[in-house]
């Protein structure tokens, strides 16, 4: 009896191993992902629509796969398990450093001058100000995801620049909420006194009635910086056919469906290039998030 079961186990596992290594899953599907910067339901809704749009316009079956972290999005892109991604500034810079030949091809109109809001719970008594609010010191503070541009990189940069100290030494407690929706929820509930959030995510949440302005409000806005962009792998022309990259670029730039654009939310998509994100790379190196 034991040996028979063992035999069965072995044969089954061999099948599994063989099946797992065969390289033809999704052979001709054009797969893309996005950094999970907001609620998954919202992302799924948005990017499933994008997938349908891409499939229709490109004539190539396209598919969105959701991931659970910024790093997972970068890794999937690096390992060629997705060929296109909607990255933030920092994740895009990381991905393009890791994948030679990868290119930023389109960004949202608003991404040329993106902003981070510092938001505070009403009980802190912090008020909206034009200059950097130095009385943040000694409060509890939450970033968004560890790999976020608007929720981590830029706010940390400005905190370091103004206090000449690491966030851990400025605040009594530093957290990473995971995404912008959670940052808003955590500051609104008072779990953290202050937080840093992507201005588009804030507007989104405000519109859908998730923000109680009596409890949480904006106290400072960062200077503008470049953020989100579509990044594509350099080897897509080889895998599909020559000119595929250009066609994807055109299709993204021609996205005019107001519903689709509103789901991002962006006014339109405009051309982008790798050099647009040099400022992000410089800041990331300066605060040692990239070596």
């Amino acid at each position: 009896m034991p040996s028979r079961i063992t035999l069965l186990l072995c044969s089954a596992l061999w099948l599994l191993l063989l099946g797992g290594v065969s390289p033809h899953a999704f052979a001709d599907t054009f797969v893309f992902t996005a950094i999970p910067d907001e609620d998954e339901a919202r992302l799924r809704q948005r990017f499933d629509k994008v997938a349908a749009y891409l499939s229709r316009e490109l004539g190539v079956e396209s598919k969105y796969i959701p991931v659970k972290s910024y790093a997972a999005a970068v890794t999937a892109f690096r390992n060629d398990q997705v060929q296109l991604a909607w990255f933030g500034g920092l994740s895009g810079v990381r991905a393009r450093t890791l994948v030679p030949g990868a290119e930023a091809i389109a960004q949202g109109y608003e991404d040329q001058a993106f902003l981070t809001y510092f938001i505070a719970h009403a009980s802190t008594g912090l008020k909206s100000s034009q200059t950097f609010p130095k009385d943040l010191a000694g409060k509890t503070f939450t970033f968004g995801s560890k790999g976020s541009t608007s929720g981590r990189l830029m706010p940390e940069f400005y905190v370091r620049q103004n206090f000449m100290k690491a966030p851990d030494d400025v605040f009594t407690k530093v957290g990473f909420s995971g995404n912008h929706a959670k940052t808003i929820a955590l500051v609104q509930s008072g779990a953290y006194q202050v937080g840093a959030v992507n201005f588009k995510a804030w507007e989104n949440a405000l519109q859908s009635g998730k923000i109680d302005l009596a409890k949480v409000s904006i106290i400072w806005t960062t200077p503008p910086y470049p953020d989100y962009q579509w990044t594509i792998r350099g080897d897509v022309d080889k895998r599909w056919k020559t000119g595929f990259k250009q066609r994807v670029t055109d299709v993204l730039l021609n996205m005019k469906d107001p519903d689709l654009l509103a789901s991002f939310p962006r006014k339109s998509f405009i051309p982008a290039k790798n050099a647009d994100y040099q400022p992000i790379l410089d800041v990331a190196k300066q605060i040692k998030l990239i070596d």
Partner: protein
């Protein structure tokens, strides 16, 4: 009553080593508590708690599309992982007496399934193999140890009756194995239950199991959906013995690989790159191996990592582990009467069983996640989560053990029975279970870092978020050393106190 011997009136009372050890651990936990942050930072935790409670009584089974497939996948990942781990563990148990094998097994089981999954994500991406190996590898290390101990401790009367000249294989299959087969089978089925928990939790980092949807539901506050998923999971575990029949195991394992779903294709070059480039410390990658500067840079690199991340991470891990260990013990002692024949009738015992099953079936990762949402970030959610989960497991084992205690007809009842009869008699076994759980609690403490508590796992997660895989692997290596050290210490203490070592089920 025996007369007090005349020489037994020392001026200072002498306590047994068991009592001294217990007091020592409680004192250590008290000291740790002084350094731990256990504040509740949310201003209004009740609001969210009310919403959760409402969700719990209004489960919404329609919210997750394709729920059946999600459940099947969760089972399939557990089956494949545990089967592979058990077979590998069984083979390893045959050569477990070799030092390097023992060390290798201790090292692989010191890394939690979630970290294995994060490592394999780098090499294989979101492929089914990532989830299967993440379960199989640490389980192989655990099974090898337990199988080897079982084989070693077996009495083996059949073996002694064998005629001289019996072949090794025949001796093994006809004399050694049948004797311990029941133990091995029981332990493996217990491992499968653990495998289901692991499989569910792997969803939190992106594999297509229950955890994937649980993470979404919890983080978006869809508590009715979360409740539906949790209830399904409890049902899955509670009904285990009805569908996990020995005769069907082969069949299940055979079809399980086909239910894992298709994932991303696996590319050899990614695996090679990970092993030969990604995990090589940055200074070695960038400088020539013969240049002195390279090695000085490597020294700085590892020194900084040790001082800034590994050390604070270890301190937090240790604080949390020691507090959680003692609270676990207290909870276990408080909970075990609920299922003990010595204290309650069938109605209370049934309810007690349900209560303990729910507590121990809920993975500590999920418990901690929920408490963090409720109370905000501090060590409190982690302590409560670890203690509830582990306290329920040990409470269950101690409760069963207490049923075997024979009482005199005139034994006391109620609180006196508890304090003067049962607890003293089960205490040794209880400590053995608790010390077995020590290493497990430490491993679980590390993964709670992924949720933001600054244990070693937090720094590993940060390194992975920065795609600095060399740093992540260095910190994981530190974690392995730390865990193996605690494991050895636990074994030493158990040996000193003469506690039974047959507590593998804990």
């Amino acid at each position: 009553m025996a007369a007090v011997p005349s020489n037994a009136a020392p001026t200072t009372p002498r306590y047994s080593p068991v009592v001294k050890t217990s007091v020592g651990f409680v004192a250590a936990a008290a000291v740790c508590l002084a350094f731990a942050d256990i504040s509740i930072t949310t201003l209004d935790p009740w609001l969210e708690m009310k919403r959760m409670a409402w969700g719990a009584v209004t489960p919404d089974f329609g919210a997750v599309a394709g729920l059946g497939m999600v459940v099947l996948r969760t089972i399939a990942f557990a089956l494949c992982g545990v089967a592979l781990g058990a077979v590998a563990g069984f083979l390893l148990s045959q050569i477990f007496h070799l030092g390097p094998v023992r060390w290798m097994c201790a090292s692989v089981r010191a890394i939690h399934e979630l970290f294995w999954a994060l490592i394999f994500l780098q090499m294989l991406g979101l492929s089914p193999l990532t989830g299967v190996l993440a379960i199989a590898i640490p389980y192989a290390g655990i099974c090898a140890k337990v199988y080897a101990e079982t084989l070693e401790e077996a009495q083996l009367p059949a073996l002694r009756t064998l005629p001289k000249g019996t072949g090794i294989l025949s001796a093994f299959f006809f004399a050694r194995l049948p004797d311990v087969w029941v133990h091995i089978k029981n332990y493996t089925s217990y491992r499968f239950e653990c495998g289901l928990r692991s499989s569910a939790v792997l969803g939190f980092i992106g594999l297509p199991t229950l955890g994937f949807h649980l993470e979404t539901a919890f983080s978006e506050g869809n508590y009715s959906e979360a409740a539906a998923l949790m209830i399904l999971f409890y049902l899955l575990i509670a009904t285990l013995r009805y569908w996990m029949r020995p005769k069907l195991v082969g069949f299940y394992v055979l079809i399980a690989p086909f239910l894992l779903g298709s994932g991303a294709a696996i590319n050899m070059s990614n695996i090679v790159r990970f092993l030969t480039v990604d995990i090589v410390p940055a200074p070695l990658r960038e400088g020539g191996l013969l240049a002195g500067q390279t090695w000085r840079n490597l020294g700085d690199w590892s020194g900084t990592l040790l001082m800034d991340q590994a050390l604070p991470g270890m301190v937090a891990t240790l604080l949390l582990t020691q507090i959680a260990l003692v609270v676990t013990g207290v909870l276990a002692l408080a909970l075990f009467p609920l299922i003990s024949e010595k204290f309650f009738g069938p109605v209370v015992r049934t309810l007690g069983h349900v209560f303990l099953v729910v507590l121990r079936s809920t993975p500590e990762f999920i418990l901690a996640y929920v408490f963090l949402q409720l109370w905000g970030p501090s060590m409190l959610p982690a302590i409560v989560a670890l203690s509830l989960h582990n306290g329920a497991i040990i409470g269950h084992l101690v409760g069963r053990f207490s049923d075997e205690v024979r009482l005199r007809p005139d034994s006391p009842r109620g609180i006196n029975l508890y304090g003067f009869e049962i607890v003293p008699r089960v205490y040794g076994q209880f400590l053995a279970f608790l010390f077995y759980r020590w290493e497990v609690i430490m491993r679980e403490t590390a993964i709670l870092g992924i949720l933001g508590i600054a244990t070693l796992g937090f720094f590993v997660d940060s390194a992975l978020a920065d795609i600095r895989l060399d740093r992540a692997m260095f910190l994981i290596a530190v974690m392995v050393v730390f865990n193996v050290a605690v494991d050895s210490l636990s074994r030493y203490i158990r040996g000193r106190l003469h506690l039974s070592t047959r507590a593998g089920q804990a």
